[in-house]
Assembly symmetry: C2
Homo-oligomer: 259 residues x 2
């Protein structure tokens, strides 16, 4: 029997999840989004109906997947009238407890990846972390999620939140370090492209060995003259100067402990 | 005629440079290192002589390449007695001015890459930035460096220093963000390996598009509740908490400007 799903939220997470589920034979019944534009866009791609009004939600689905920003989860749950239907959210940072009093059968599906509308994703490679309110729901959710990725793990809300913090460091902050480099390069008429071989090597070392044994650079060498020179040269960018200082000190501190 | 080189310093940079030069037919005459162990190791790999005493330097080379840490460059130059022989250093942060009064023919060769003794490097892909004290020396250095990489660019000391700062952000700091994630994961009995697909996607987005358009995450979405929750949860690691705060604020600040 084909499983039917309603996707609530048509942002990056909702879009990629809907595509992956449809590809694996799940019938997407409806897209619910607060903006008409994203509702229409994703629904036409899914060949399904759409609405911008939570009151018009289709009640025939087996699972309701909430893919909205964290702040919107509780407001959305409060407005939803879906009885004892199974419902999940997809947030890294919100606990399973947001469902208390607002649902009877519920869980969490947290796909650990960075989603951008402009770039396709191979869902089969993504680790997905789940949690549910009963062993039966957990088993059901496990089987459902297994359709789109073989890498499914059950973890609790505390672990998931820590995992999300770590993902912020490993993805959002690494990306921002490069944004800073890109900005400084532009300011000095240098090309960011130059960094591609360095970035490839960095990525290879981190994934093949480990980041702690791959660390290099002036802070790692405890070369305080160079660190200070760099800090001085960043004077016209106070926030970036502060970031440089804190990270360098943390590298020095962390690698001293190891010696 | 085969070019002859002496390498001063047998650390990561000296080792990889010596290997690349030898592979391209440069004759490595001698390895000079302050520690006997690294001198012997690299010299045996280069099939050449070695010394730990700068007074015993071989005077038959065409070029002397100083691959020591920044702090050691001036002390090394002060002890060297090589007359008007051509000498270069390989530092990103030291200006060409360190040679004033200490040499007659000089320059800088800055290979922008992260070098680890445990990992081989394909030098042909590395961008190398050079500078010299005269147009003739610059041309000579350009031809010499071209042997090991087609990506040779002439830049001045100020540009090179900014490039080095950017390389610290793009490599050392991205790596450290992952070290922090690895440490936090370990503390919570979670595996860092889980991050490989996320890291691959991050690397692909940064290099294929650009870091500024690839940014995602709670700070980018201006989701201050999640940012604050993460900051609170990092209370037991004050330095990491501080780093999280500063980088998140900088992401918010930088991407606000763009709107």
């Amino acid at each position: 029997m084909q499983i039917k799903a309603v996707i609530i939220g048509a942002g990056n997470v909702g879009t990629h999840l809907a595509i992956a589920l449809k590809n694996e034979g799940v019938q997407i019944l409806q897209i619910v989004s607060k903006t008409m534009k994203s509702a229409v866009e994703l629904a036409s791609r899914m060949e399904c109906s759409f609405t911008t009004d939570l009151q018009d939600i289709n009640l025939q689905a087996d699972i309701y997947i909430v893919c909205v920003t964290d702040n919107a989860i509780i407001p959305v749950l409060r407005q939803l009238q879906i009885g004892n239907k199974f419902i999940v959210h997809t947030s890294g940072s919100m606990g399973i407890d947001v469902f208390y009093d607002l649902a009877q059968n519920y869980g969490v599906v947290y796909p650990m990846q960075t989603f951008s509308k402009f770039k396709d994703i191979n869902y089969a490679e993504i680790p997905i972390f789940i949690e549910a309110n009963s062993p039966e729901n957990q088993q059901m959710l496990f089987n459902f999620v297994k359709k789109i990725s073989p890498h499914v793990q059950v973890i609790n809300s505390q672990q998931r939140c820590m995992l999300h913090i770590c993902a912020v460091f490993a993805n959002n902050f690494t990306n921002h370090m490069c944004t800073i480099a890109e900005m400084l390069m532009k300011e000095h008429q240098l090309k960011f492209e130059t960094f591609k071989p360095l970035l490839r090597e960095t990525f290879e070392k981190i994934t093949k060995y480990s980041p702690s044994i791959s660390q290099t650079g002036p802070a790692m060498r405890n070369d305080l003259h160079v660190v200070q020179k760099h800090i001085d040269l960043l004077a016209q960018f106070p926030s970036i100067q502060e970031i440089y200082t804190h990270i360098s000190n943390n590298i020095i501190e962390m690698h001293k402990k190891e010696e």
